[in-house]
């Protein structure tokens, strides 16, 4: 499970939103290793991450520019 990668995402999310607006990123061991346009089906993300992050700690997120302002 991506414990360290999730922690890295949560710590860096303000900067990541600026650098990768409206992109989905896969993070592996503290680095962005893959970028997709828009929100991507998470099962597809798992397929890709299994190939490029095999055996490593990884995580993903979608970086909406302003999504959080509109969620109750």
């Amino acid at each position: 499970m991506g414990v360290e990668s999730r922690k890295w995402i949560n710590e860096n999310i303000p900067n990541l939103r600026i650098k990768y607006p409206n992109k989905t990123i896969i993070v592996c061991e503290g680095k962005v290793v893959k970028v997709f346009d828009g929100a991507v089906d998470p099962i597809q993300i798992n397929e890709v991450a299994r190939e490029i992050c095999e055996g490593k700690d990884w995580s993903y997120t979608f970086l909406s520019k302003d999504e959080e302002e509109y969620i109750l």
């Binding site: 499970m1 995402i9 949560n10 089906d41 995580s59 997120t61």
Partner: protein, 133 residues
């Protein structure tokens, strides 16, 4: 918004899938979009009638097998169909001001109170501490 990673068992591929999850302490149950439920083979159980902020909601219940850290939990969830017109105005006269953005559940799930209650006090405290990062 607090985001964590959980692993949800995929009954079709017989393996766990890592899913980003929104922690929602106000949600009684976990929630999964139908397309993710279909891809992971989640069982469809009875319909239940829930309350949300402005109107009742009827959803199919399901059972999720979730792995978090080293432990596995079987928790109830609901399967929600993301409407194609989810950006619609809330009332006939309102002009929707929300930006065009993917539905928050298109690429993640909600883990609700019923999952958090399964965790240890230490795990809950750790998760809630992410809010103040």
């Amino acid at each position: 918004m607090i985001l964590v990673d959980v692993e949800v068992y995929n009954r079709i591929k017989k393996r766990y899938e890592l899913l980003e999850a929104i922690i929602d302490t106000g949600a009684t149950l976990c929630a999964v979009a139908k397309h993710i439920a279909d891809e992971t083979g989640l069982p469809l159980h009875e319909l239940i009638h829930l309350w949300q902020v402005n109107e009742p909601l009827t959803s199919a219940k399901t059972m999720l097998k979730i792995r978090y850290t080293e432990s596995e939990y079987n928790v109830d969830g609901v399967i929600t169909d993301i409407a194609r017109d989810y950006l619609r105005p809330a009332t006939p006269n309102e002009k929707c001001q929300r930006p065009v953005a993917p539905h928050p559940l298109s690429n993640r799930i909600i883990v609700g109170k019923n999952f958090l209650e399964e965790l240890s006090k230490e795990e809950r405290e750790e998760i809630l501490s992410y809010l103040i990062l």
